[in-house]
Symmetry: C2
Subunit: 250 residues, 2 copies
DNA sequence: TTGTACATCTCGGGT
DNA sequence: ACCCGAGGTGTACAA
């Protein structure tokens, strides 16, 4: 059995057969078609007739892409249930999600191409430069925050949220560190402030430090007004070594 | 010229020809292939060999989808520049974004299908149930917040951010309203608190009201502790009437 | 360009 | 199931 089957300008019968085979074999399905799209769930939307790419993944993911933008114009997340039927002379693909209840319907008016793909993939993305790696770096090298800084805990749940990094400075003050892998904004300052204020209820001399590669003007002003601090640090990028399934060295 | 061209198991020459035609005619390109993916930019990633769907849109958007999840495993946003070349016996598609500088390379090891699609689409999504519509509703019907409430401004930029809705209550107090179209969380409370504190520097008796369909436990506790208020209101869903290009009535 | 906040955010991790 | 926060977030909008 081949990995891919495709039909150009399929008849209704060919289309239905291919869709059925795609679903049964848990293939990934791609359709080029003129269609309308109806969605109702957390919000509600209508999309008039036009040419789009429809993709259905074997995990239930449903995507409708227009010819522009990174984001699908309509979609359904993994775990949704797909079905199709004929209605008023056109094939309709329906995706149902329960909880929250959401329904997505694509009304295929003219199908230019339909294809199914039995994709085999056992690899996962190995990414570096994340906030998690930034945290690991600072936890292992606390002096990067400032001389004399000692790390106490990471990802610590205080009642008012989860603090990235908790430590003490050379003067014995409690220090809350909030990390951002990109330019810090007002949101980041509010977050740090929330943690600092929560800890100040039970501790004296609590400092708050926002660590990010840079900070917006507005955020900087708010930060200073609140007596909080900023340290410019960029997220580290690991080298290729040590990626993926790490082979034990002996 | 037809809307779609596709080739199954293309030879290198067929693939290169189709890619070139796709780029020149500003078509949307979809490829089913076993490939590796390399990314470097804001972060850095590697993805080992596996079967994926590659999509290139005429606006420069680049997507690599695995067989699961809603999100592409790698991508490049609109405005990126695409090119391709042959390297070590395989075809490589490269997408370059300047600012921030980011490069994405897909190394095609085995192409099962390639297709190009001259999509025509003049329709835009009409969506209802957004926060913007919630705001409009409350601005026009301020009594929904509470009896005697009068709206003063919406989307108002105070120094510390942009307030959703500003008004006065029956007692003449300034009221800041923060809207959320879904369950409000700690972030929402922090946001509201930031606005309230900024306004309290120049006004007395400032109230803060969080308006959302519901609220998380943690957020509720913080809200009450801070003397802020909550009103349960759901975002409205418009009916079909009045969607899309609204024709002037005379 | 920068700043700010929404999103049918999605996704993962924790409890 | 809920809660919480990151994300190469993307996207729109305003200054």
């Amino acid at each position: 059995m081949s990995k891919v089957k495709s039909v150009l300008n399929p008849s209704r019968g060919e289309l239905l057969d291919l869709l059925e085979e795609g679903l049964i074999t848990r293939s990934l399905i791609v359709i080029f078609a003129r269609c309308k799209v109806h969605y109702d769930g957390r919000a509600k939307s209508e999309l008039g007739s036009g040419d789009r790419v429809v993709m259905v993944k074997p995990d239930g993911t449903f995507l409708v892409h227009q010819k522009e933008k990174r984001e699908p114009v309509n979609w359904q997340p993994p775990g949704s249930f797909i079905s199709f039927h004929v209605e008023d002379d056109s094939v309709v693909i329906r995706s149902l999600r329960k909880k929250p209840r959401e329904i997505l319907e694509v009304e295929l008016e003219d199908v230019y191409m339909a294809a199914i793909f039995r994709a085999e993939d056992y690899e996962a993305l190995a990414l570096t430069g994340s906030e998690a790696e930034m945290l690991e770096m600072l936890f292992n090298n606390p002096e990067l925050i400032e001389p004399g800084f000692r790390a106490l805990a990471k990802e610590k749940d205080i009642g008012r949220g989860i603090v990235d990094l908790l430590g003490r400075d050379s003067g014995g003050n409690l220090v809350v560190v909030e990390l951002k892998r990109r330019k810090a904004d007002l949101h980041a300052v509010s977050q740090l402030k929330r943690y600092v204020e929560a800890l100040r209820k039970e501790n004296e001399n609590v400092r708050g430090i926002l660590v990010a590669p840079s900070i917006t003007e507005g955020a900087k002003k708010l930060l200073e007004k609140e007596g909080l601090e900023f340290r410019a640090i960029k997220p580290p990028k690991r080298e290729k070594r040590g990626w993926g399934r790490q082979t034990t060295l002996f």
